[in-house]
C-alpha cells in the first residue's frame, strides 16, 4: 500500500481481505451461518474462524451458537459498530478515487 495520508488512516481491522469480506457479506445479509460465509468467501474453516474472532473481539460482529437438526450451528451478525466501520471505510475508498480524479482534472 502506498504512503499517503488517506491510506494511512484506513481501519486496518477491516482492511484485511477476509475480514472485509465478512463485514461486506454481513452488511448485505442480516445473518449468515459459518458455512454460508465460508462458501461466499471461499476460504478455509481455520482462516474464517481466526478472522471472525478478531472482528468479534473488536465488537464489529456478533456470534451466536446453537443447534439445527442436532448439528452445531454458528451464526454471525453485523453490529452497529461494524456497519459504521464499513461505512467509514467505504467513504475513505471513495475519497481516494475522488482525490485522484481531482488531481487528474487539475493537470
Amino acid at each position: 500500500m502506498a504512503d499517503s495520508t488517506t491510506t494511512e488512516t484506513l481501519d486496518r481491522l477491516i482492511h484485511e481481505r477476509i475480514r472485509l469480506g465478512i463485514v461486506s457479506a454481513l452488511a448485505a445479509e442480516e445473518r449468515m451461518s459459518f458455512a454460508d460465509l465460508k462458501q461466499v468467501l471461499r476460504t478455509s474453516d481455520g482462516n474464517l474462524s481466526v478472522h471472525a474472532r478478531k472482528l468479534e473481539e473488536a465488537g464489529y460482529i456478533k456470534v451466536s451458537k446453537g443447534f439445527e437438526d442436532r448439528k452445531p450451528k454458528t451464526e454471525y451478525r453485523l453490529t452497529t459498530k461494524g456497519r459504521r466501520a464499513l461505512e467509514t471505510y467505504l467513504a475513505q475508498m471513495e475519497a481516494i478515487l475522488s482525490e485522484a480524479r481531482d488531481a487528474l482534472e487539475r493537470t
Partner: protein, 193 residues
C-alpha cells in the same frame, strides 16, 4: 491530504469491486443460466407443439412431464454456470429463492388438481402462467433484473389466458416456450452464458 498515487487508486477500485462482489454473492442469486432457460423454453415449445398436433390443449399428460423434465435441466445448467463462474451454488440466496417461489408453485399444483377434477381445464393455462409468473417475480427480487421482468410478463400472459381461455395453448407456447427462450438469450448476452 496528499494526492493518492496510481497504486492507491487501483487498490481502491479493486477493493470497492471486491466489496460489491461479496455483497452480491451473499445476498443475490446471480448464477442463472441463460442457456438453461433456452433449454427449458425448448421443452415448452416441444410440449406446445405436441399439444397442438394432438389437439390436446392443456393436457396434463404433456405438461406435467414437461414441467418435471425442466427442473433437472435448469438445475444442471445453473450448477454448470455457477462452477464456471466459481460462485457458490447452495447459499442463503438460492435457499431464499427456493422458499420464495415454492408457495406459489405448490398453490399452482393444488389448483391444477382441483381444476382438473372439476373438468375446468380451460382455466389451467392462465393458472399456470399467472402462478409461475408470481413465483418468478418474487424469486426475481433476489436475482438478476431480467428474471423479475420475465415474472411480470408471465403474470400478464396469465391474466390474458384467464380472461381469454380459448387462447390458452398459444399463450402457453408464448410463455413457457417463447419467453423462456427470449429471456434466456438476453441473459446469455448480458450475463455471459
Amino acid at each position: 491530504m496528499s494526492i493518492p498515487t496510481h497504486e492507491d487508486q487501483r487498490d481502491a477500485k479493486e477493493t470497492l469491486a471486491f466489496i460489491r462482489r461479496t455483497m452480491e454473492s451473499a445476498s443475490t442469486y446471480t448464477a442463472v443460466s441463460g442457456w438453461g432457460l433456452v433449454a427449458v423454453g425448448t421443452v415448452g415449445l416441444v410440449a406446445a407443439w405436441l399439444a397442438w398436433s394432438g389437439n390436446l390443449g392443456a393436457d396434463l399428460r404433456i405438461w406435467i412431464p414437461a414441467a418435471l423434465l425442466s427442473v433437472p435441466i435448469a438445475t444442471a445448467f445453473n450448477v454448470t454456470k455457477a462452477r464456471r463462474l466459481e460462485v457458490p451454488i447452495w447459499t442463503g440466496a438460492i435457499r431464499k429463492v427456493v422458499w420464495v417461489m415454492a408457495p406459489t408453485l405448490v398453490a399452482g399444483g393444488l389448483l391444477t388438481i382441483a381444476l382438473a377434477e372439476q373438468g375446468t381445464t380451460g382455466l389451467l393455462p392462465g393458472t399456470w402462467l399467472a402462478l409461475y409468473g408470481a413465483g418468478v417475480t418474487a424469486g426475481g427480487t433476489i436475482s438478476v433484473r431480467a428474471i423479475r421482468g420475465m415474472g411480470v410478463l408471465f403474470l400478464i400472459l396469465g391474466a390474458v389466458a384467464l380472461l381469454r381461455p380459448e387462447w390458452g395453448l398459444p399463450l402457453l407456447a408464448l410463455g413457457f416456450g417463447g419467453l423462456h427462450v427470449a429471456i434466456g438469450l438476453d441473459i446469455v448476452l448480458r450475463h455471459g452464458g
